[in-house]
């Protein structure tokens, strides 16, 4: 009797993969309402996650815009002459942590005021009470305070002003907001996975008898598992279609509405493209991942035949 070659080869033929794809699609159809239930679960969660991601990313953007906008307004005292102003500008520029320095004369300051607040201020044109100003930007928002201190010690600087206390509060607020959002997204994803793997588990429990039969007629674990995993993938893909569509439509309308109103402001929403396509890709990936993971986890314990 020639001994059997009892070694499973893991390499799979392409036609078998084709077979698995065909089977997984057939199974979607034959599973009827269970397919519908799983897809609905994925749809609802991905929609929530998607909206959340939109909000979070834009909040992030707003925070960045605000952070970048923190400027140190350094008032030049009246005693400083033109030569001193040039010296100071060089001095500030050479400080560490300084990104840019802009000089603005008191006349320019006044015309800005007039622009912002109206004609009434043009009265001051005869007798301008304002001071010349250096607008200094730090490379990192967190360095603003140090840079401001250093500038205030320069001779010829009357005083410096920046967001001070308010800025720190804003930063902590935004950071907390970001963290809370992240936790919420994670919690949502976790719930989604639980929901979906449960739905898939119900379909698999109903099919454990089938899995047993497949194993008894010589199927390997992967042969049984792959169609299920592919089915999970389809569920995830199908479940991400509607959320992606809705989110694209939603964000299109939001940006159409908000962009003109925000033109020229320091706070801007993220541009429609490529942002929304990135979010769509993310939703798609999450859907596929949830589906595959859910199937994989649910089928595990039924393969021990």
């Amino acid at each position: 009797m020639p001994g059997m070659k009892l070694e499973v080869t893991t390499a799979m033929k392409a036609r078998t993969l084709t077979r698995h794809f065909r089977e997984s699609l057939k199974s979607l159809g034959r599973n009827g309402w269970m397919t519908f239930a799983s897809v609905s679960a994925v749809t609802v969660t991905l929609l929530l996650v998607g909206v959340f991601v939109l909000i979070m990313m834009n909040l992030n953007k707003v925070a960045d815009d605000l952070e970048n906008d923190v400027e140190i307004k350094s008032f030049v005292s009246l005693e400083a002459d033109e030569a001193r102003v040039t010296e100071m500008e060089t001095a500030i520029k050479s400080m560490s942590g300084v990104e840019s320095v802009n000089y603005s004369t008191k006349e320019e300051e006044l015309s800005d005021l007039v622009l912002d607040f109206g004609k009434e201020f043009s009265l001051f044109e005869q007798n301008n009470p304002l001071l010349d100003v250096f607008y200094v930007k730090a490379t990192e928002p967190q360095q603003t305070e140090n840079v401001a201190k250093e500038i205030s010690q320069l001779e010829g600087i009357e005083k410096v002003k920046y967001g001070e206390g308010k800025i720190e509060k804003l930063f902590t607020f935004l950071n907390t907001g970001r963290n809370v959002g992240l936790v919420l997204i994670l919690a949502l994803l976790f719930t989604a996975m639980f929901l979906i793997s449960n739905t898939i588990r119900i379909t698999i429990v109903a099919r454990r008898h089938e899995i047993e039969i497949m194993k008894l007629v010589g199927a390997t674990n992967w042969f049984v598992r792959i169609p299920f995993i592919l089915e999970g993938m389809w569920l995830g893909l199908l479940g991400s279609i509607l959320p992606i569509g809705l989110i694209i439509a939603l964000y299109y309308n939001v940006t159409e509405f908000a962009q003109p109103k925000l033109s020229g402001e320091m706070i801007q929403l993220l541009d429609f493209a490529p942002f929304i396509y990135q979010v769509s890709a993310l939703i798609l990936l999450m859907g596929v991942f949830i589906g595959i993971w859910g199937s994989f986890m649910s089928i595990r314990k039924f393969l021990r035949v």
């Binding site: 009892l6 499973v8 199974s27 089938e210 497949m214 008894l216 010589g218």
Partner: protein, 228 residues
Amino acid sequence: MIQMKNVYKKYPNGIVALNGMNVEIKQGEFVYIVGPSGAGKSTFIKMMYREESPTSGQMLVNGVDLAKIKRKNVPLLRRQIGVVFQDFKLLPRLNVYENVAFALEVIEEKPEAIRKRVLEVLDLVGLKHKARMFPRELSGGEQQRISVARSIVNTPKVVIADEPTGNLDPETSWDIMNLFERINASGTTILMATHNREIVNTMRHRVIAIEGGLIARDEVGGDYGYEG
């Protein structure tokens, strides 16, 4: 081909189904397993393709010690053994054609070869015309014949059949038996548990009688032996 040494099987519920079995079956043999209901025939058969494992004792199939094969290699063992299950074990969601084709798909056979071979065996069991029907749409006997078709489709070295004629009318039973005879003539080992006296007494082969988990009788060309 198949060797059992002191095989003992105790189910988790405490029932001892096999109580120290010693048997050897050679390649190409045709063996009937007879004995009263609950004697341990199905348990004996389930050991061969490792649906159940012995509590103690040794089992060799084709020279391989079943206690030593790795879990992941069990499918290979099963592919060399065609099984007609007492409860058919057809996949409810697959139609007749797909059920039979499944045994060839797991061994990654070419689609054209699968198609040809499946239609061939469906013809052999006389159910080619019901290829597109689902198991729930078939009678018990028809399901049994599909199970027979699946067991022989990949031309295994051994066909193990647990009461393959249990649900068949006499005429179809003879058809299936003739099929088994033909496969056996081409060198395939056949192991068949049965309660069918007429078949055992007509188509004479080795008879192993199991009673209370022990071999009560083992004779070549023996008869069914139990008085109905």
